[in-house]
């Protein structure tokens, strides 16, 4: 089909050329003969076919020089216009040196570039921070959602061509012509996905930092070699700035990581201190408690031998009960501090969620908050520390409770996404929401909008989620509520039961029965 169309086009083109040649020839003949026949009645003028041929030839010979002259004139006019935009762009390049924020820099580059050169689309493409490919960081003439979708793999034909070719401006059609049709097809795909007719590579000291791609409303010939030379210079300036901004961003990230690690350390030191304290307290307090409770129990056990007043029995029972309560406090404190070090096991997260909801049910019912949960389908077992995930659920739910205050709804959901093997936990509330400017800060340590809170809950949650290579994010609308989403990749360890199975513990039952007696 395409072959047929191509052929038809070619035939059409030839016919058109023929017609125009004939038209040019006859016009020239008519002009020439009307001018000359009055004065020089040459005999061959009498033969119109011959005369048309001669004049056509003459017109063709003069066409090229005339065309050249016209273009030169146009270029002179256009160049003046261009030189203004060149100056504007060089000014921009100087201004860029003072900007260290990558996004701000990118926005300024694409917008100024697009506006001064009256372009249709401009996009700045740099290496992605998260994935191993390239992404558009800022674009002009694009839909925001569209440019977020564009991803350029590292080994894409366009990037390979740039890495082979160095800092030359690539023109779409010219580049395509140098390749065979398969390669050209792939390269064209890259150009089209970036909506580009031209691509300027950015190199900072031989290092490839990104590309600026753009397209215009007018056909491609508006830029010439002189422009490309200028673009290369411009690219050099911009590349330096982008390189700097990238370094600053990396430093910022490293700094953030350092801060995270530091606060994590601080947290673990705190927990260690609590553990030491709790262990000390447990030792010091449990012994006297044992004696107090023991003596009371001795009296209680002697009940059948001597007759007791009922009130005395009541008192003794209270002593035993209250000493046990005192001991439980230190036990809980210990359990909390040891949770991070305790072993992992195969967990049913829906069970953990249910237990946690049961734990807060008293508080939520007091505040008139309804907690619902839904688990989509059967969840695969997750290899993790039960205390940590109890804490994750607890923190998310308590955060929702505090955001609601009183009267509202909390919905917890766990689902398993088979296609990418991810367990997704989401907790939504009908609370007051989070201000946009605070949305990034909610996971920071000691960040809180409440006066009576420490601000560690979500931070600890984030640390735990990260420990399992997961991610946590928040979506929120002020006045409507928030949605926290935790995504946990199902790791290898979860897929098989660990080789060293935990030993059966026949004592635990006894210990429990002892504790409950």
């Amino acid at each position: 089909m395409s072959l047929y169309v191509k052929k038809r086009k070619r035939v059409l083109k030839k016919v058109l050329i023929g017609f125009s040649l004939f038209f040019v020839g006859s016009t020239a003949y008519v002009l020439f003969s009307s001018l000359t026949s009055r004065f020089f009645p040459y005999p061959f003028m009498g033969n119109p076919v011959f005369a048309v041929l001669i004049t056509t030839l003459a017109a063709l010979l003069t066409y090229k020089p005339l065309d050249y002259l016209m273009t030169q004139l146009f270029k002179n006019y256009l160049f003046r216009k261009k030189s203004y935009s060149h100056m504007a762009l060089m000014d921009l390049a100087e201004e860029l040196a003072t900007i260290l924020d990558l996004t701000e820099l990118a926005n300024l580059v694409v917008n100024t570039f697009g506006e001064t050169l009256h372009l249709k689309t401009v996009a700045l493409v740099i290496p992605s921070r998260i994935r191993d490919d390239y992404e558009i960081i800022s674009a002009y003439g694009w839909n925001v959602s569209d440019c977020k979708r564009v991803r350029l793999p590292k080994d894409s034909p366009l990037l390979r061509m740039i890495q082979d070719g160095g800092p030359h401006v690539l023109v779409r059609d010219r580049a395509l012509r140098t390749l065979d049709w398969q390669e050209a097809n792939r390269l064209a795909h890259d150009f089209d996905s970036l909506r580009a007719s031209w691509v300027i590579p950015f190199f900072a000291r031989e290092e490839f930092v990104g590309v600026l791609t753009f397209s215009s409303y007018i056909p491609e010939s508006i830029f010439d070699e002189g422009d490309f030379h200028f673009f290369r210079e411009f690219a050099q300036e911009v590349a330096k700035c982008v390189r700097n901004a990238l370094s600053v961003q990396e430093l910022k990230l490293a700094n953030q990581e350092l801060q995270d690690v530091q606060s994590q350390l601080l947290q673990s030191i705190k927990i260690q201190a609590i553990e030491q304290l709790a262990t000390g307290i447990a030792h010091e307090i449990h012994n006297p408690l044992t004696i107090i409770s023991g003596k009371a129990q001795v009296l209680l056990l002697q009940k059948d031998r001597a007759s007791y007043d009922e009130r005395v029995e009541e008192v003794l029972k209270t002593i035993v009960k209250q000493t046990k309560r005192a001991a439980d406090i230190t036990k809980k404190l210990l359990m909390f501090s040891q949770s991070s070090g305790s072993p992992k096991e195969m967990l049913d997260l829906s069970q953990v969620l249910e237990d946690t909801i049961a734990l807060v049910s008293y508080q939520t019912s007091l505040e008139g908050i309804e907690v619902t949960r839904s688990v989509a389908g059967a969840l695969p077992p997750y290899y993790a520390n039960v205390h940590e995930f109890r804490e994750v659920f607890l923190n998310l739910i308590l955060n929702a409770v505090q955001s609601i205050g009183s009267k509202g709804k909390i919905h917890c959901e766990i689902r398993y996404r088979c296609q990418d093997e991810i367990l997704e936990i989401s907790v939504s509330d009908t609370g007051k929401g989070i201000d946009p400017q605070n949305r990034d800060k909610v996971f920071n340590p000691f960040f809180t909008t409440r006066t009576n809170a420490v601000g560690l809950g979500l931070f600890v949650t984030k640390q735990i989620v990260h420990r399992y290579a997961g991610s946590i994010r928040v979506e929120s609308r002020v006045g409507e509520g928030s949605l926290f989403i935790v995504q946990l990749p199902l790791m290898e360890s979860s897929k098989r039961v660990p080789a060293e199975k935990s030993l059966p513990l026949p004592f635990l039952k006894q210990v429990e029965s002892e504790a409950s007696s």
Binding site: A278, T279, A282, H283, H286, N287, L289, T290, I291, I292, S293, G294, K295, Q297, V298, L301, T323, K324, A327, T330, K331, L334, Q338, S342, P343, S502, L503, L505, P506, F507, L508, Q510, V511, S513, E514, A515, S517
Partner: protein, 124 residues
């Protein structure tokens, strides 16, 4: 005769448990350190030992290991102020026969000790 050894670095606990079990017709000896405990056990040959886990010097786990290697017949009940899964697992691996936490439920302790003594006298 029912013989029992109570090992705890806190002498008050020792005395208290000694009194409690003496009232229940046990011949009770006490020890306040691991080293002393091993000597007492060697001399007294009890059926059951109540052994504190956390003691300065030789701790409960070491004493447990020593008892189980020298006198495999003696039943050992570990007594501790704090319970952690690791400690319970370790004690079990070393052959402890029970693991209870303070404050003690005397009723449960008495029942358990009596059961163990009865088991031993049956088998012997």
């Amino acid at each position: 005769m029912k013989r029992l050894v109570v090992v705890d670095d806190e002498s008050e606990i020792c005395d208290f448990l000694k009194g409690f079990f003496a009232d229940r017709d046990f011949d009770v000896r006490t020890a306040t350190s691991g080293e002393q405990a091993l000597k007492t056990i060697g001399a007294h040959k009890p059926q059951v030992v109540l052994l504190d886990v956390h003691m300065p010097g030789m701790d409960g786990m070491e004493v447990l290991r020593a008892i189980k290697s020298q006198y495999p017949n003696i039943k050992v009940i570990m007594v501790t102020a704090i319970e952690t899964r690791e400690k319970i697992e370790e004690a079990m691996r070393l052959g402890a026969d029970n693991y209870i936490t303070k404050p003690l439920s005397l009723e449960y302790l008495e029942k358990d000790v009596k059961e163990k003594v009865a088991l031993l006298s049956e088998s012997s």
